[in-house]
């Protein structure tokens, strides 16, 4: 039979200061731990929201990102002759051949950073209905004008409507502001693909994105694509899947670095929990002797102290998570190693992050509480009672 839980809970309440400090230590580590995971997940969520399930993006197989992909116009035309590409009522393919370049702009907080400029084709708003013009107007096709994403406008100097950005030896006037619903496009500037190619003296797109006439035909489409000898160096992917893969590098980097750091921190709070629990055992030696004399087993004593330590860490975990959850209201921007350009994203919480943070806290409690609990369980009854 077990030692009642109220024994454990009330004992936590008796040593307020030490318990409080230990809980705080664990809370802090869990806060950082979950913040890092929320950051990684935020990046992922933002990039996944960028792509659509109904679109297909083609890039060069050897390319790591859009920046390093090259698709010349003839290849693009070959791709657009494949079956299952959706057409407008006028019979034009719903597609956008896109050169993607990186320019340098001054951040409002100081310093230069990279911004993605994407050249788009005329069907782009049909292709990406989640992107909406918010202020100003659409750029004129055939002129050196840009529209800018909301996340760029907030963070970069000279990116407001009416201002002029200089790159590729030319002046580009910003004429509109677009909102891409918190996706990665919010961190981009868009202009006319042909103008961009012309300015950079290039003839090839980076990627081409188009809609399929039915969402379920992707495998069929891919089979036709793979059979085409002129397309062997290229690979089609569902657009969402493509951006998801693009997020993996950055999200993985953040998670691994963050987890590495927090695991080192966690050694501190684990030792803290251990000291607290050793003190608890020392203070309650006579109590343990008494419980054992009354007939409680060693394993009941072990369970009682382990529960105490786990409870301690769970409280710490919940507190850390509680404060971390407020980070959801923050949007930050950083250089995405996947695309080498600035990406704005919000911290995002998921059930997996909640459970892994709590598990992480419990693990600290388990590791910290294990040895002290074993000591309590192994106390000799007579010696324990004599220590009064």
């Amino acid at each position: 039979m077990k030692i009642p839980l109220k024994y454990t809970i009330r004992n936590l309440g008796t040593r307020r200061l030490t318990t409080g400090i230990t809980v705080l230590g664990i809370a802090l580590v869990v806060f950082v731990f979950s913040a890092v995971l929320m950051m990684a997940y935020g990046v992922q969520k933002t990039l996944i929201a960028t792509g659509s399930d109904e679109n297909v993006l083609v890039a060069r197989k050897a390319a790591n990102g859009e920046i390093s992909s090259i698709i010349d116009r003839q290849t693009a035309n070959v791709i657009l002759t494949l079956p299952h590409i959706a057409k407008t009522p006028e019979g034009k393919p719903i597609s956008s051949g896109e050169p993607v370049v990186i320019i340098n702009l001054n951040k409002l907080t100081g310093g230069l950073s990279n911004v993605t400029v994407r050249g788009v084709s005329q069907q782009v708003f049909t292709l990406r209905p989640h992107v909406k013009l918010k202020e100003g107007r659409m750029f004129n096709w055939g002129s050196r004008e840009l529209i800018t994403g909301v996340a760029i406008e907030k963070r970069f100097a000279g990116s407001k409507i009416g201002e002029v950005v200089r790159f590729a030896g030319d002046n580009w006037t910003i004429v509109g502001l677009f909102d891409a619903g918190g996706s990665g496009f919010d961190s981009e500037m868009w202009g006319d693909a042909d103008q961009l190619l012309d300015a950079f003296n290039r003839s090839a797109y980076s990627t081409i994105t188009f809609r399929l006439d039915q969402p379920e035909v992707f495998q069929e489409f891919k089979a036709a694509f793979d059979k085409e000898p002129r397309l062997q160096q290229f690979e089609p992917k569902i657009e969402r899947r493509y951006f998801e893969e693009q997020s993996e590098l950055m999200a993985g980097f953040i998670s691994i670095l963050g987890i590495f750091i927090t695991v080192i921190f966690s050694a501190g709070s684990t030792i803290g929990a251990m000291i607290t629990m050793y003190a608890a055992v020392a203070n309650r030696t006579v109590e343990v002797g008494t419980l054992r004399a009354l007939g409680f087993r060693r394993r009941s004593v072990l369970a009682a102290f382990l529960t105490e330590s786990l409870l301690l860490s769970l409280i710490g975990g919940l507190i850390g998570l509680f404060f971390a959850s407020f980070l959801q209201f923050f949007t930050i921007s950083t250089l995405n190693f996947g695309s080498f350009s600035e990406l704005a994203f919000s911290f995002a919480l998921s059930p997996t992050i909640v459970s892994s943070s709590l598990l992480f806290a419990l693990l600290m409690g388990l590791l910290g509480g294990f040895l002290p609990s074993v000591r309590a369980a192994r106390l000799n009854i007579v010696n324990a009672l004599r220590s009064s």
């Binding site: 009330r10 309440g13 009672l385 009064s388």
Partner: protein, 225 residues
């Protein structure tokens, strides 16, 4: 009457570093059922050690101890633990109540090791607290009680499972005269009215007076009386 405790040829030493400290030397004695026995003797004579052996929280080096028909030396640790839970009530010099539990919860503690329902446990606890006259204090925590009251709660905890045997190690050692008298009267009543066998270690001759048998322990040997 049939002896409820039979101690035969029991020896026990402790080791400190590499020195053997002989504590009990070939002790044999019996306690008839329903007796109230006082163990006296100078400090360090082994009274507590002998009491611990009878109560099953320590083991002899040699000899056998039979309590209520069970050879307790032969029991393994977990069987011995459940044996204690059903057969022995402990009364300590410093009461040893659990400070974070109320009087009620302290008395209920040994009942958690039985199969009694919550309602049955409540009845047992209330009966035990009524016997010691502290039913009105059941929501109090140990630190809200006087020493004498704490010891009475401890006695309630010792009798709540209706054990065969009560062991008390200097139960009045930490109490003023008035409280000590109350405790002794209570123990006497438990013996006479509830037929509990009691083994009590004490230094106090007035405490020993309440017992029917007094045995003296000296240098690990039981004196003939």
């Amino acid at each position: 009457m049939e002896p409820i405790i039979r101690v035969q040829d029991v020896s026990k030493s402790y080791w400190r570093d590499s020195f053997e400290i002989p504590v009990l030397n070939n002790i044999s004695f019996e306690v008839p059922s329903g007796e109230f026995l006082a163990l006296m003797g100078p400090s360090g004579s082994g009274k507590t050690t002998l009491l611990n052996l009878i109560a099953g929280i320590d083991r002899p080096d040699r000899g056998t101890i039979n309590v209520a028909g069970t050879d307790i030396v032969a029991l393994n640790e977990s069987r011995l633990a459940s044996w204690r839970a059903t057969h022995v009530g402990f009364i300590f010099q410093f009461y040893n109540l659990i400070p974070v539990l109320t009087a009620y919860e302290n008395v209920e503690l040994p009942l958690l090791l039985t199969s009694l329902s919550k309602r049955e446990r409540r009845e047992h606890v209330e009966t035990a607290l009524t016997v010691v006259g502290l039913k009105d204090r059941m929501r109090h925590y140990p630190k809200q009680l006087s020493g004498g009251q704490e010891q009475r709660v401890a006695i309630a905890r010792a009798i709540t499972t209706d054990p065969t045997l009560l062991v008390a190690d200097e139960p009045t050692g930490d109490l003023d005269k008035h409280s000590a008298d109350e405790i002794l009267t209570l123990l006497e009543r438990l013996n006479l009215e509830f037929k509990k066998t009691i083994v009590m270690v004490t230094h106090d001759p007035r405490a020993a007076e309440k017992a029917h048998i007094i045995r003296h322990l000296d240098k690990g040997e039981l004196q003939q009386n």
